[in-house]
């Protein structure tokens, strides 16, 4: 019967819970990389995968389901890290180990991540640097209903508020939407002449795309855009960087993170206790450094890691820019 099936699972089960499906990285990179590494390290380990579609209570239920399927290790990338304590508790009660993946959870057993606040800080610093530490910027943050967006925002402010850069206007973009980013930026151009805008902070690559569309739409030449930031290292963003339309994006070497997570999960499943951790707010952690990708290091980062191939990036539209940037 159903209940027997629940008890009778042999081997080890690792549950991987990711927060959403609207950014590419989770299903295109984290999940396959993680699964592949687990399969490599442990033949009778099984990976159960869940995606919460940005819904906290759905994720809570998924934790429950994972427990019901007898997970030994739960690798949890929380929709909302600050509010995920309850889920962690229920999982731990069942005897499972909880690994906070990519986003911090206070009560987790282990934590692996690129720190959100430091991502924002890196973006801000890179922007200030690209602008020569002066001039006005527009600032587009993530969704006000997304707790992580607040962390990026905080980090970015840390970097920018102390610099010589002046924030002309700031916007929390509902749903991170590129359309809204484009509209908002266009509307700002009614107030600030394009010549006054020396840079744009966009929290992620989607918004950066909207910003580029707005600025070019207002008559700016695509090759004369002010520096624009981004995050996620989306293919479209890398293409824009190569073409000189976007200054930078944050690339998190997901491969390292995912594979480390897989190693950790397998060893936890086998009952081992890893010792090479550092401490982050009381949780045994592995912290990785996010990488700033700019035109000059595309080749050494995303291409080198096999994140994208040169042929992915250099489609017909970007062929010229690619050869100019030495990509081929």
């Amino acid at each position: 019967s159903a209940n027997d099936a629940q008890k009778g699972s042999s081997g080890k089960t690792i549950a991987l819970l990711l927060p959403e499906s609207k950014t590419t990285r989770y299903e295109a990179f984290d999940k396959p990389l993680f699964e592949k590494k687990v399969a490599e390290l442990c033949s009778d380990c099984k990976v159960d995968y869940y995606n919460a579609d940005q819904d906290e209570s759905k994720q809570a239920q998924q934790v429950d389901t994972a427990v019901s399927k007898g997970a030994d290790v739960i690798v949890l990338d929380p929709v909302n890290g600050a509010g995920a304590g309850g889920m962690v508790e229920s999982a731990q009660k069942s005897g499972a180990k909880v690994v906070a993946y990519d986003r911090f959870i206070g009560k987790a057993d282990y934590y692996l991540s690129f720190d959100n606040a430091s991502v924002g800080k890196l973006q801000g610093e890179a922007l200030a640097k690209a602008m020569g530490d002066k001039g006005g910027i527009l600032m587009l943050n993530g969704a006000p209903s997304d707790p992580n967006a607040a962390q990026f925002k905080k980090g970015a402010h840390e970097a920018l508020d102390g610099s010589g850069v002046k924030i002309l206007a700031e916007y929390d973009n509902p749903d991170w939407s590129p359309d809204n980013a484009q509209k908002w930026t266009s509307d700002q151009l009614a107030k600030f002449d394009t010549s006054k805008i020396k840079g744009v902070y966009a929290a992620n690559d989607g918004q950066a795309g909207g910003v580029v569309a707005a600025l070019t739409g207002a008559g700016m030449k695509p090759d004369a855009l002010p520096p624009i930031t981004g995050q996620d290292a989306e293919l479209a963003a890398i293409q824009r960087i190569v073409a000189g339309q976007q200054a930078m994006t944050i690339y998190k070497p997901i491969k390292i993170e995912a594979e480390k997570a897989a190693e950790l999960a397998v060893s936890l499943a086998k009952g081992e206790k890893p010792s090479d951790t550092e401490d982050f707010e009381g949780v045994a952690s592995y912290i990785f450094d996010p990488v700033v990708v700019q035109k000059d290091n595309v080749k050494d980062t995303v291409v080198k890691d096999g994140f994208y191939s040169v042929s992915d990036i250099c489609t017909a539209q970007y062929a010229d820019a690619c050869s100019a940037a030495g990509l081929k």
Binding site: S1, A2, N3, D4, A5, Q6, S21, E27, D48, Y49, Y50, N51, D53, Q54, D55, E56, S57, K58, A60, Q61, Q62, D64, T65, V67, S68, K69, V79, N80, A82, G83, A84, G85, G86, M87, E89, S90, P144, S145, D146, P147, A150
Partner: protein, 417 residues
């Protein structure tokens, strides 16, 4: 001339018309049932069939879908949105809509959390505040509707936006507020399960109460000279109910048993169902939903009905939001924003409530939320890519309702006079 008909001796007063096709005994009922099946008048049965189909498919994929553990957590997680969906049933019965239940649930929960965690008041007081916030919002809605005549779609759309802003405003820089895990709310919503014995006692009491009420009703009808329906059928039905519930209880008791949250939801459903079917208020609500002008001309105070319904809906939304916060042990900027509206409305509609008013029941919310929850849990267990998951969710949803629609097909070509 009235007496011409009364002359037939022994026939109940309501079965005298010679055109009525009579059916007696269990065999007769089987025939009636078969005719209703063909005529598409089966109420919610087809959706139940759809649900069973869903269960069979997922069970075939992974038997753990029907394990005690899964059923327990499925019901527990279904309850908060189910409670919100109950309110939606009310507004839909009037032919109105409330798009803001999600935002209201999040906003109320945030008010509660700030009141309790930041201001250090007791959880009980906090919950009162949360519910009061919901009720106040409903009051404002009904004033907008009754005094200014703003359509419900518009004011609830405005509410959807405004209370999302309110949520952000109340939470302020906090972002997320974690509720103390030893608080009554969290204990109740997340860790509260009915002890095994108590569960059996409750089930027995329920079945006996329902049987008793039906027998009393029968006796009253018989005394008044009206038809009573088969006693056998009544007993068989009660027995089936008893066996079903007892078996389910014992199955859930293998794991943690019925969660208090679900029991609360079920109790709300039963109460609301009785209110709708057995009281003046419920009767008037159906009348206003069916034909507002006729209801007004019958002397019904239509305004009061709207008031109670909008207040009821927002209050239930707030209450559902509190329960959801208890289950999650936290309130955040995203509370109530994601899909809550659509899920709550969809549950009511899938369960068989009409968007045009006058048709539906409290059980619709329960049935609908179970269907949606089953799909979601099933897909969680089966483990697929997001793109596939979205597509399958849509497809399965369609399937569940299509069975219903096809069986209703016979009824469409109607006409009067």
């Amino acid at each position: 001339m009235a007496d011409v008909q009364d002359a037939t001796p022994g026939v109940p007063a309501d079965l005298l018309d010679e055109r009525l096709i009579q059916n007696e005994g269990l065999a007769g009922y089987a025939k009636v049932f078969w005719n209703r099946l063909r005529g598409g008048e089966l109420g919610s049965l087809p959706v139940v069939v759809g649900l069973i189909a869903i269960c069979v498919v997922f069970y075939a994929q992974d038997p753990r879908f029907l394990s005690s553990y899964t059923l327990v957590s499925m019901t527990q997680f279904a309850a908060p949105v189910g409670i919100i969906s109950l309110g939606i049933v009310l507004v839909l019965l009037l032919g109105e809509i409330d798009l803001s239940v999600g935002s209201v649930s999040g906003f109320s929960a945030a008010c509660m959390a700030v009141f309790v965690v930041d201001h250090g008041h007791s959880m009980f007081l906090g919950m009162l505040v949360g519910v009061a916030v919901g009720a106040t919002i409903g009051l404002v809605y009904s004033l907008l509707y009754l005094k200014l005549g703003v359509p419900s779609f518009v004011f609830s759309l405005a509410g959807l936006l405004a209370f999302q802003g309110g949520l952000l405003y109340v939470l302020g820089d906090h972002g997320t507020i974690n509720l103390p895990s030893d608080s009554g709310l969290v204990q109740f919503a997340k860790f509260g399960f009915v002890p095994d014995l108590l569960a059996y006692v409750i089930v027995a009491a329920l079945v006996l109460a329902s049987l008793g009420l039906q027998l009393v009703g029968r006796a009253r009808r018989a005394k008044a000279g009206l038809s009573t329906g088969s006693l056998g059928l009544l007993l068989v039905r009660s027995a089936l109910l008893a066996v079903g519930l007892l078996w389910l209880t014992s199955y859930l008791n293998v794991d943690r048993g019925w969660s208090y949250l679900w029991v609360l939801f079920a109790a709300l459903v039963v109460v609301l169902d009785l209110l709708l079917r057995k009281t003046r208020w419920g009767r008037h609500l159906f009348a206003v939903g069916g034909n507002e002008e006729a209801a007004r001309r019958s002397g019904i105070r239509v305004g009061r009905i709207y008031l109670t319904v909008f207040v009821g809906c927002s209050t239930l939304a707030a209450f559902g939001g509190l329960m959801s916060a208890g289950l999650l042990t936290s309130v955040s900027q995203s509370s109530g924003t994601t899909d809550t509206n659509l899920t709550a409305i969809a549950a009511a509609v899938i369960g068989g409530t009409s968007l045009f008013g006058g048709r539906g029941s409290a059980y619709a919310a329960m049935l609908g939320i179970i269907v949606l929850q089953a799909i979601q849990t099933g897909l969680n267990i089966v483990n697929v890519d997001s793109s596939v998951r979205f597509i399958v969710t849509g497809g399965v949803l369609l399937l569940a309702v299509a069975i219903d629609s096809v069986s209703r097909r016979a009824r469409t070509s109607s006409g009067r006079g």
